[in-house]
Symmetry: C2
Subunit: 273 residues, 2 copies
């Protein structure tokens, strides 16, 4: 296994770029191959079997790029497909659920944790399971927020409609007096300020992207698989972006949230893998 | 060609059932094979090439059921893929755009027509093109309403959030004094009352589903391809439903809007076609 090989990162679309961004910040020497399944997004309202099938196709594609590890940068795919991917693969696979859950458990004082996410993430019970493994006496309150993704994709970050929808979704968590809320969907940090204002300043919001990059760094070091420092790579060699549709729109969005301009995004037919 | 063969009807998901329902009402002797691409929905924000590729896969599947005609019951697929499908096929292919456009042209008095739909339907300019072919001096004002589908799928038919979003989207059409609005997405008739209230009682709303069934009847009669009357078929023989994901959820929704209970929905892997 080549320690200078890239890390494969995937998501149903653009949301996972928030995870890629954290990896770029915390592990600046690592190479990344990112795949966004823009032809079949969103995953949040699809079945477990379908999300597993899509995830396996994506991993087969990423492995053609000789990756050394896989980051499932999508909460729905992490909830449904992580075990299935790990069974098949000979390289490490990490998701966003564990990282988010660990931070939440470390943060809560009253033992009441809220989790917001897609219908798939909440129905899977994945956060609930991991949180209770880490700390059996926590109380976990899940709430699916299916309109958050379309509202974010419409750019309504600071808007009365988003305020109203968020107030309704979050009221059940406020009633339970949670002191910690996991933003269990990679789109949600983009409306963090709205969620924070509604939940109030006593509630800690957890963004699993940050902790996922910490976990990846620890893993690579423990396996002595981190990249050599001081490699001379162009940006195109270092970070590669692939999508299943709308390459140009993706590239523009990626440029808007990543530290460097994304010059190239390649569209592939993921169904062939 | 067998005149008692079924008609193939497809959509990205559930919306096309409103077209299937009209066919059931107006052509009660016809058999239908419906396919909803629930694993890859929505189509509205995907590229033309991808929508054409998906549509061709679906037609290949439907043809395994010996259909005699195809109804593209999805505005985005009708906008992007109709010409490509017609080139390939030896059986008639009809979409929802022509039907909706014809009714709109017949309805307008001041020649100002609004069209609302997905990003794909509006960007394609398909309604604009057909409307101007039918009546060159009409003025067409398109407005994409990307939040309508998620709001409908959340069941917010009569809700202050839907009112607010609809007011914003429709204000540009009100400013142009359109007297006719085409509901160019099969989900929109489900929030017809909200759209009607905002546009006002002087504005006619067009639902292309009705007119599509009229066009299908005319076509079948002109080809002498309509089913024999008085066939003894069970409901399962008459109407078949296939999806690419979430068969049970689809079946429940179909039962809620169709005149008869849907007992069976079969999930297939559309990517194999």
């Amino acid at each position: 296994m080549n320690k200078n090989a890239p890390i494969g990162v995937f998501d149903s679309g653009i949301g996972g770029l928030t995870v890629a961004r954290e990896i770029m910040r915390q592990l600046p020497e690592e190479r990344i191959v990112y795949f966004g399944d823009t032809a079949r997004l969103p995953y949040g309202n699809k079945s477990k079997d379908t999300v597993i099938r899509f995830s396996k196709q994506i991993v087969r594609f990423l492995k053609t790029k000789q990756i050394k590890a896989i980051v499932v940068a999508c909460n729905t795919a992490s909830s449904y497909a992580l075990d299935a991917l790990r069974e098949d693969e000979d390289i490490p696979v990490i998701g966003v659920i564990n990282a988010g859950a660990r931070t939440a458990v470390a943060s809560t004082k009253n033992g009441k944790i809220g989790v917001i996410g897609t219908v798939g993430t909440i129905q899977s019970g994945a956060y609930n399971e991991v949180l209770k493994e880490l700390k059996p006496d926590v109380e976990v309150f899940g709430k699916a927020c299916p309109l958050f993704v379309p509202l974010v994709e419409e750019g309504l970050f600071h808007d009365s409609v988003t305020d109203e929808v968020a107030s309704r979704y979050l009221s059940v968590l406020k009633e339970k007096y949670v002191d910690t809320v996991v933003m269990g969907c990679t789109h949600y940090p983009l409306i963090r300020s709205t969620i924070a204002r509604i939940m109030g300043s006593d509630v800690t919001l957890i963004n699993p992207a940050y902790e996922t990059a910490v976990q990846l760094r620890t893993l690579l070091r423990s396996m002595e698989m981190n990249c050599d420092e001081g490699q001379e790579l162009t940006l195109d060699e270092k970070y590669q972006f692939y999508v299943s549709d709308m390459a140009e729109k993706f590239r523009d969005f990626a440029t808007s949230i990543l530290p460097e301009e994304v010059k190239k995004t390649v569209q592939i037919n993921i169904e062939e893998y």
